[in-house]
Symmetry: C2
Subunit: 329 residues, 2 copies
């Protein structure tokens, strides 16, 4: 492997000049710069990241702190994050939280610090994770994917509240007055935003609120909830906080003899790939998770480079109308 000194020898300059070329130092004559670049190309020279990391104590490593792998959304975001980070010359290390206890979070952050990550992307959308993170005053820039802006650390989040409002509003527009919400788990920021969007839409339409059911994002829970809820007759539509629960819910209703959408309308959230193909095709809200991941990396990198963050708005969520919600009879 050629080193910076080999390049210097070939170009007839000092190794320091080569280093300057590599780091875009301003005071390098154009001609010298070209000679160095030629030598670099000729030798197929690549800077040794380890050596660079040793002296700058920057590993060019980004840590992902996640707590929800397995769901479609986070997974898609993670893939995009890795892709975007690699393009910028960063590696990514993914640390999945076994649970969201303060101890586990603290241990995870310390672990990432020991691995000397330059920055952290937090994909662990539990409220308590932020409390712990804020309390730790870690000396590393971090970006979160879900929290509402104004919290500690930068954040990049789709307007989940607006998406949920859209979904609920769709049901209202179809004539439904008794709309139930199957929400995500207690502590989750996303669950909270979606529920707030639901409540806001009902308030705007001056409709009564039914206490939401707390789910756990899984299709299995949706299935269980569907069978239980079928006994109640106080609603004609359900807004589920994610597609997986919505699909399970439809299954549960069917088991109990209820037809979707004839007897109950259902709207989901996320627009996972199978949403269009289940029966009935699911009306849902589309979120661009990959875009979200890319955005997070952009933010984090500008923080690392101490640049001004330009903060482009996240892509707006969009309602995707299919067949699982119809006008109230």
């Amino acid at each position: 492997m050629p080193s910076i000194r080999d390049v210097a020898r070939l170009a007839g300059v000092s190794h320091q000049t080569v280093s300057r070329v590599l780091n875009d130092h301003p005071s390098i004559r154009e001609e010298t710069k070209q000679r160095v670049l030629d030598a670099i190309r000729q030798l197929d020279y690549r800077p040794n990241q380890a050596a660079r990391a040793l002296v700058t104590s920057k590993l060019h490593l980004i840590g992902i702190l996640s707590a929800s792998v397995g769901e479609f959304g986070p997974t898609a975001s993670i893939a995009a994050i890795e892709e975007a980070a690699r393009v910028e010359g960063y590696s990514v290390t993914n640390l999945n939280l076994p649970d969201t206890s303060p101890e586990a979070i603290g241990a995870a952050v310390r672990q990432l610090q020991r691995e000397q990550v330059d920055g952290i992307v937090v994909l662990a959308p539990q409220v308590r994770v932020f409390h712990v993170l804020r309390g730790m005053a870690i000396g590393i820039p971090f970006v979160s994917l879900q929290t509402a802006s104004g919290e500690a650390g930068e954040s990049v989040a789709p307007d989940q509240l607006e998406g949920a409002r859209l979904a609920t509003r769709h049901l209202v527009d179809l004539g439904h007055a008794d709309i139930l919400h199957l929400s995500g788990p207690q502590d989750w920021i996303e669950a909270d935003s979606r529920m707030r969007g639901y409540l806001q839409a009902l308030r705007e339409a001056d409709l009564p609120t039914i206490p939401p059911i707390r789910g756990d994002w899984t299709a299995d829970f949706g299935h269980y909830a569907g069978r239980e809820l079928a006994r109640r007759q106080d609603f004609t539509a359900v807004f589920a906080a994610n597609d997986l629960m919505a699909i399970g819910l439809v299954h549960g209703f069917r088991d109990a003899g209820l037809d979707v959408p004839r007897d109950v309308s259902v709207v989901g959230f996320d627009d996972i790939p199978v949403a269009a193909h289940v029966w009935p095709p699911l009306t849902t809200v589309h979120i661009d998770f990959a875009d979200l991941g890319r955005r997070a990396i952009a933010r984090l990198l500008s923080a690392l480079r101490a640049e001004e963050a330009e903060a482009p708005a996240a892509a707006a969520p969009a309602l995707v109308v299919r067949d699982s919600a119809i006008a109230r009879r």
Copy 2:
């Protein structure tokens, strides 16, 4: 950050002795070792990976070469790989192939080499990827997740052929004689194994073969295929090479007025999380993708450490019987 010399000073030894303790050198007195370990604990010392990488020219970095992110299976494997690698002190960088042309594969491998990865896990299950890899004679250990054993590089693969045989056999046992196969794309090793399993099961049962339909793994294709196939009446059951296509297929059949399982039985492959909750709940073959990922890392690390690979057998695929396939009328 404390360095190895700080530890040495505290323990009253030379930095070299500390280094030896860290690397389990045999000739260290037990008492000295304990003194060093105490000092390490006291200072909360952590070896600097960059410095270590500089001198050993091993970055403790594993590259994943993938070509199918977005599918459930590979994604689950990747998550497990990252987890397992981190536990062993390795970081992971994920390189997604934009396409599977030989140029793209070559460029990707060179890119990983430039990033100085210690080893590569190949999750790009196209036949041609292996041809290129074999041809490149890269000087880096690599493990693939899908290829049949006996090919270049080590491989860790579930017995897909057996899984497909199981699925097809299930249809045969239900009395079906005209069984169609909706396969994966041409070039894919997995598609090939699953097709071979299908053919083998038919041969064993002495049943006629119908030329398989080539799909692309997506639910959208399954949907299209279902609508087209509904015109033909030369089959009573379909074995789809993955769940996504199976779900789309059911959707397509329904659009064309065919009921699953009453008119046609369908069996999928993978057992993705929604498989149990779509209508009808999908009979499929369960594959433990996470286990596969862990196994790949174990293999790769033993190769990196020049150990003897123990080669434990992969978990056997298991048929999961639900409601999408019933006895032939």
